[in-house]
């Protein structure tokens, strides 16, 4: 809906894309020139061209690894955020639910996710399940906290306003509380997506036979630094694309609040 015009717009549309692209290209160029000029051992730091070469050498199976990781992220992200919204709704609606749920929220954040990943493998095997659980644990919290904050951000006078016409809780929720919370929801989703990507890679390190995290480990074990770089760079690209999708959905679906920062886990 509304796209807030930035108070101070110093960049044109083209420059907004061209400048970051130029700085990235510059980095790659420096990297390439540096590795050539100083004849850096490619085992320590492969040049960008060598990394590109490794990617093409690996060929189509690379896409399979990308898909494994993407799929895990999408499943974990979806489950985690559905859970987050339900939890947030319960917390806001009922003080009893809040008291019951909060300890779990806190504990879920203090448990080191990486440390319990091996335990999850024992319980759930080496398939999709333990990975999804790690991702869910990492990504539900930012959304839950933000949505709680969003649902509570409703202007009390707006509640009075609705009450002039109806005392229906349902109407109040759908016409005021829910729309008030939407920008907070997206602020949470963006942090959640970044967390989901990390979760997926970390979960694959514990046990996996495919995926970008697996590829990083595999590259390390086989002394293929170039392959590790391929996997890391693909993870960065995947993260950017997924984050971009969430940000795009936000632009389409959300109105903007001035100055609400999302809260990190």
């Amino acid at each position: 809906m509304a796209n807030g015009t930035k108070p101070m717009r110093t960049l044109g549309g083209l420059a907004a894309f061209a400048l970051p692209a130029a700085s990235m290209l510059g980095l790659l160029l420096v990297w390439q020139v540096y590795t050539n000029a100083f004849e850096v051992n490619h085992f320590i730091l492969p040049s960008p061209l060598r990394v590109l070469n490794a990617a093409f050498g690996f060929g189509l199976p690379l896409l399979g690894h990308v898909w494994t990781t993407t799929y895990q992220i999408l499943v974990g992200f979806t489950v985690g955020n559905l859970l987050a919204v339900i939890i947030a709704y319960a917390i806001v609606q009922s003080p009893v639910a809040e008291k019951l749920i909060y300890p779990f929220l806190i504990v879920s954040q203090t448990v080191p996710k990486l440390a319990i990943a091996p335990l999850l493998v024992i319980w759930f095997g080496t398939g999709l399940t333990p990975k999804v659980i790690v991702i869910v644990l990492l990504c539900f919290f930012p959304t839950a906290i933000n949505v709680v904050q969003g649902l509570r951000s409703t202007d009390p006078s707006a509640v009075d306003l609705v009450n002039l016409v109806t005392s229906s809780k349902r109407t109040l929720f759908f016409k005021v509380q829910f729309p008030s919370a939407v920008p907070y929801f997206f602020a949470g989703l963006k942090i959640s997506m970044a967390a989901a990507v990390i979760g997926s890679i970390v979960a694959e390190w514990v046990s996996a036979t495919s995926g970008l995290g697996y590829l990083i480990l595999y590259g390390g074990q086989t002394m293929r630094t170039d392959l590790m770089f391929v996997a890391v760079l693909l993870t960065v690209v995947l993260g950017l694309v997924l984050y971009g999708l969430v940000a795009g959905a936000e632009r389409l679906l959300s109105w903007k609040v001035a100055e609400i920062g999302g809260r990190a886990a």
């Binding site: 509304a2 006078s157 707006a158 609705v162 002039l164 016409v165 005392s167 729309p179 109105w255």
Partner: protein, 269 residues
């Protein structure tokens, strides 16, 4: 006509009987906002409420709208409890702040209460446009609230209250953020609507002139805890016009109200 009406003992349309309100009653942070408030407002009357900041004017309107329950006394609107009156959709409120929904365009904000009421889109938008026009915001109907100035937002909220079509209008400093000219124009528009649609209006203002220009009666409140110190009828003919403001009678009314406010302030010291 029943006997009681003939005898003139018919209860007023809006009545406060010995009403008190204490916020957070029974706690250490209790604030007594209103004490012993008694007054009546006849149907179709225009009554203003004057009083220093913090004397409880907004609180009084919130009680009247049934958003708060009195901690003492009784309130009735149209013979029933304020909450019951509100549930019949007869109460319209202009809050002290605009309370616009930031995700809705101006036209949707103005039509919001009609939407909740279940009025069909084309119909409610037509009504909304009419009131957007009335408050002088034609051309801004597709804007978002953040694109409007404070005074424009306030006018949207006035349009929303009027579009809802309530028979009782509770207005909390509705023109507070407007420039003098717009303020006058809006005040006279309000008088037209009040007359035409036979509304009962309770109007909080800080402007003595505005109170005199608009009202049948002015309630003057004194602070801490808020009480009604005096009720002044405004014995000026109708229709009212801006020109009247310089007439002797008008000026005398204003002077008397200023004296009332001064006297309260002196007591408060």
């Amino acid at each position: 006509m029943t006997d009681s009406q003939a005898a003139g003992t018919v209860p007023p349309f809006v009545s406060f009987e010995d009403v008190g309100l204490t916020y957070a009653a029974g706690t250490s942070s209790a604030v007594e906002a209103l004490r012993n408030i008694s007054f009546g407002v006849g149907q179709h009357r225009f009554v203003s409420i004057l009083g220093p900041s913090g004397c409880g004017k907004s609180t009084l309107l919130r009680l009247l709208a049934g958003f708060l329950r009195p901690t003492a006394g009784r309130i009735s609107v149209g013979g029933v409890d304020p909450e019951v009156a509100r549930s019949t959709g007869m109460l319209g409120v202009v809050f002290q702040s605009p309370v616009l929904l930031p995700w809705l365009r101006v036209i949707d904000n103005v039509a919001f209460l009609l939407e909740l009421k279940g009025v069909a889109r084309t119909e409610r938008e037509a009504i909304a446009m009419q009131f957007i026009d009335l408050v002088g915001l034609r051309g801004f109907e597709r804007h978002m609230p953040y694109q409007l100035s404070g005074g424009m937002q306030q006018r949207v909220s006035i349009a929303r209250a009027l579009a809802f079509g309530p028979s009782v209008l509770l207005m909390d400093e509705p023109f507070g953020a407007l420039d003098a000219l717009t303020r006058d124009r809006m005040a006279l528009e309000l008088l037209d609507i009040w007359k035409r649609d036979q509304k009962t209006v309770l109007f909080v203002t800080h402007s003595v002139q505005e109170a005199v220009l608009l009202s049948d009666e002015v309630l003057v409140m004194s602070p801490r805890p808020g009480r009604i110190s005096v009720v002044r009828p405004v014995a000026l003919g109708r229709p009212r016009s801006k020109a009247q403001r310089h007439e002797r009678e008008f000026v005398e009314h204003c002077k008397r109200l200023f004296d009332d406010l001064d006297a309260d302030a002196a007591l408060g010291v």
